[in-house]
């Protein structure tokens, strides 16, 4: 039995976690060689950027030693994730989990945490479109693609991209037929009501500062890191 562990910390974007978690949980229902867990520092409910609180299945300590996961996936978020870039305890937890894992994944700004933990040096990776530059300042090679694979690392673009990433990962881990069955069970046949994103029409000049403003505010107590990431 191999374990896929999702990392939970306070303030995440709920869909960053739940999109790929749903994919992997359905995978585990069809292929019992996989086990899925959600791990956090404590067993207490963690707030999210929605009204929902999330309760993990495990603490990080419970995943040590022989229970070390095969794959670890880190979700992102806005201010709380940016603040976590200076959270040495969380970064050390991520490094420890990643050291024993064959697959290291992230969704959205979760890749900034992987980079801050030193796991993306020189690696191609992606993140939410509005902070691709920040990913570069943390030592990764930013790539504007929906899912980016580089060695053991697989990173997804913003929020909903975690579903695409997880289905691709399901195919790698359990084969394309199983991945297609998972896709069918979660009826992932997207029809965005306003069509795909029209990137040429995106008003980056007004939206990117929203994210970088959040980043600067979240790192107010860490001026050197703040300057490095927002200068």
């Amino acid at each position: 039995m191999k374990t896929v562990a999702f990392v939970l910390y306070p303030g995440i974007t709920a869909l960053d976690l739940v999109g790929p978690l749903q994919v992997m949980s359905v995978l585990a229902a069809f292929d019992p060689s996989w086990n899925v867990v959600v791990a956090a520092e404590t067993a207490r409910p963690a707030p999210t950027d929605t009204p929902l609180g999330l309760v993990p299945s495990h603490t990080f300590d419970q995943l040590a030693g022989p229970a070390a996961p095969y794959a670890v996936i880190v979700p992102g978020g806005t201010e709380p994730t940016f603040a976590a870039l200076a959270d040495d305890r969380l970064l050390e937890r991520i490094r420890t989990l990643a050291a024993g894992a064959q697959v290291i994944g992230s969704v959205c700004t979760g890749s900034l945490l992987l980079a801050a933990a030193g796991l993306l040096q020189g690696r191609r990776a992606t993140t939410h479109w509005a902070v691709l530059d920040v990913l570069g300042r943390l030592g990764a090679v930013p790539v504007a693609e929906r899912v980016v694979q580089d060695g053991p690392v697989v990173t997804a673009a913003g929020v909903s991209a975690g579903i695409d990433m997880a289905l691709a990962l399901a195919g790698r881990l359990a084969g394309e037929e199983t991945a297609r069955t998972v896709q069918l069970m979660i009826e992932y046949d997207p029809q965005p009501p306003y069509g795909p994103i029209d990137w040429a029409a995106v008003d980056r000049a007004s939206l990117v500062p929203v994210m970088t403003g959040m980043l600067a505010a979240a790192l107010a107590d860490h001026p050197r890191l703040r300057e490095r990431l927002t200068a």
Copy 2:
């Protein structure tokens, strides 16, 4: 301030709730005339079909009277949702919330709960592809579309369809421009790694019995309802 209330009950499919919840939470961040809550019978964490437990922001009692929501959205699931078709207390909660709402929504098998609550009589509605027939047996007019609108009722197909439904609803509630901004912030520009679902190739004969078997098992103590829905 208008409230969008998501209904939480034990055993739901996590993504049914969190997909549209994320959309509506980002909407509320951009348009402060909207408020989003997650309501359940008790404040205790509810298990899901993933390793994650979910903690609501409100109890149903807290949404009574002047706090009654403008929109109510009911997520689905597998066995626990099917068992809930015989849960008169939950159905009464749904009826009460719906009675004061302008929008009544569901994701996946959540529409079976709306139908069991008597809210879909003669209305066009959808659900997870594998239980469309069951929806018809509950008095709705089943439609194999991703999102179906009929009067105040908007229903989504299986699991991930809740994201498409919520973006369409965001457009109705706050205008297309805001809905497009929400889509951009959650980077909903889907690229399923194996492409869209190839419905002509779906092996319904082997997968539909999985769902109807779950339904029959979940209603073992309610033989008349079980017979009505699975005969």
